[in-house]
Symmetry: C2
Subunit: 326 residues, 2 copies
């Protein structure tokens, strides 16, 4: 009998749904956020869009929806906002074009999807989800990803849709004054992401980005790399933002989950060890948002600020920009 | 003084070079290798090219060269061989074209480079190394990677160079008889890779592939993903081959290194746990080659065979195809 049970579909063996403490965390990038350069109007707009993203995801969770739907909905809000470096408002490549990357992972079903270097897909996070759900693949890049988008009938936009006047000006300033090194060029962070836990105890994570300002066309950072920028399993969900190459070399998102599993660390201890110790020691600027299956959140960053917002079981939305806020 | 020492370049703190037991392991893919379908001529040719790859890398190590040079040299031999699914002899996409992926990691310097979806670069592993050494990036894809190749002056070939008559026939057979599922299409493994340890105790890993037969254009598997198909640090070096999507979701190459660090497992125990337990339980076919800083090798696979060859300190080259060989 034991053998028969073991061979039955995994679904049969799952416990009856438990009511987990729903939670969602979003980020809008980590980097040098200077209070003195922040106008009240810009702060209010950033706060509004981060709150809208959390509420979009939270509404799904509160009505019994999936964490997968919640993280996609939250990231779509931030992709559609011109204030973040993802979807509309993405940074420009050295060619003055936009190349977008995104990934999503369903921790309960242990599925993942990602796209890199797409140019006309309005919501790359949605295309990443379709890669996960409609293909046997995890990652599609470039022209092949564009072709898949058209097969799927997702919303296609003119590449100019993504480019805001602010981003064009930032790019022109950067081009006029060649940066001292590539670290300067990479300073324009603003990747977005979300992690969520639903009432069934399922975790999910999603990340979307335009990459780094003035990047070499074809450069892909950690955001669409499962294990680096995004990871989720039954134990934890992570979305990262920062100097992507460091996050790839350190397999940051997976490493946080591995530390929980292998070292027995809490989500907070694991996330802090990776971001504040390992990455910081290497000069890898950035941060993560992370969530465990009990709804405990961690959002460490080693930069002056990280745009972040969250809501736990009570539904109250909190928003923070800087390190020294309460 | 302590603070001064701590701030000095890491190089200053490194111990004087020790004479490590040099070692190199290569693979030419894991999958269903059937003895009854193997002709003596084909077996001899496979054996010859695997041996040539090991000897190319070993010669570098024996003369005091770096593990990084050794893995690149070994992988170049296998890319140039028409018998493996990398470089010349790569499988065809659903469009009848070739799209190549490769990655390399220098475990001592903790640097990495990778390219995905390139179509005209004779040796993708060399381009991956140039991404590591000549850019601040880890991963370049598609047209941007092709442009970088031209900037670097690497050898460019006509896309037809890669396509052998055998691969064209395999592709035509596959197209004529639609596979029952994508697993069938993915059955044509043959990714190549190498891991090496040099006299200075430095580990390196490299992987190169044409992906899966009849793949959707733009599909990228684990081979160019640092942490999935390739990983190296001061402790271990891993190159993987198999059903790429499973290897990405499980961050296979990094996970083996993480188990050594966090669980104190040997390279053999860590590699076996990931390949024979974790991946096998999910149906993730494939294998890895792995090497630790003491020259201990592991090469577990959960498929009927894996083309593999190696040489340790005595320089004797061993070649194996199947599971039950001595």
């Amino acid at each position: 009998m034991t053998a028969l049970v073991a061979c039955a579909p995994a679904r049969r063996n799952e416990p009856a749904p438990r009511l987990a403490p729903i939670a969602i965390v979003v980020h809008g990038g980590a980097g040098t956020i200077r209070r003195e350069q922040m106008t009240p109007e810009r702060a209010a707009a950033l706060r509004r869009d981060l709150e809208t993203a959390v509420r979009a995801g939270y509404a799904i969770l509160a009505s019994g929806g999936s964490s997968l739907d919640a993280v996609e909905a939250a990231v779509r809000v931030l992709e559609d906002s011109p204030l973040f470096n993802a979807g509309r408002g993405a940074v420009l490549t050295a060619d003055g074009t936009v190349e977008l990357d995104a990934s999503i992972m369903d921790g309960a079903a242990f599925r993942a999807g990602a796209v890199a270097s797409v140019r006309t897909v309005k919501n790359p996070i949605h295309l990443a989800r379709l890669v996960m759900e409609r293909t046997p693949h995890v990652l599609l890049v470039g022209d092949g990803a564009e072709r898949f988008a058209r097969e799927m009938g997702v919303e296609i936009v003119d590449p100019d849709y993504f480019i805001t006047p602010e981003r064009r000006q930032q790019w022109e300033r950067l081009r006029a004054r060649p940066p001292a090194d590539d670290a300067d060029a990479a300073a324009a962070f603003g990747t977005v992401g979300a992690v969520a836990l639903d009432r069934q105890g399922r975790l999910a994570a999603a990340t979307s980005t335009g990459g780094t300002m003035n990047k070499r066309p074809g450069r892909v950072g950690d955001s669409p790399i499962i294990g680096a920028g995004t990871y989720a399993n039954r134990r934890c969900a992570v979305s990262a933002t920062g100097a992507g190459e460091f996050f790839i070399r350190n397999a940051v998102a997976y490493d946080i989950c591995a530390r929980m599993e292998y070292l027995g660390q809490s989500i907070e201890a694991a996330a802090r060890a990776v971001v504040l110790e390992k990455l910081a020691a290497q000069g890898g600027d950035g941060g993560v948002i992370a969530l465990d299956a009990r709804g405990r959140m961690a959002m460490p960053f080693n930069t002056p600020g990280m745009y972040r917002a969250w809501a736990g079981p009570d539904g109250r939305v909190e928003v923070r920009f800087y390190r020294d806020e309460d």
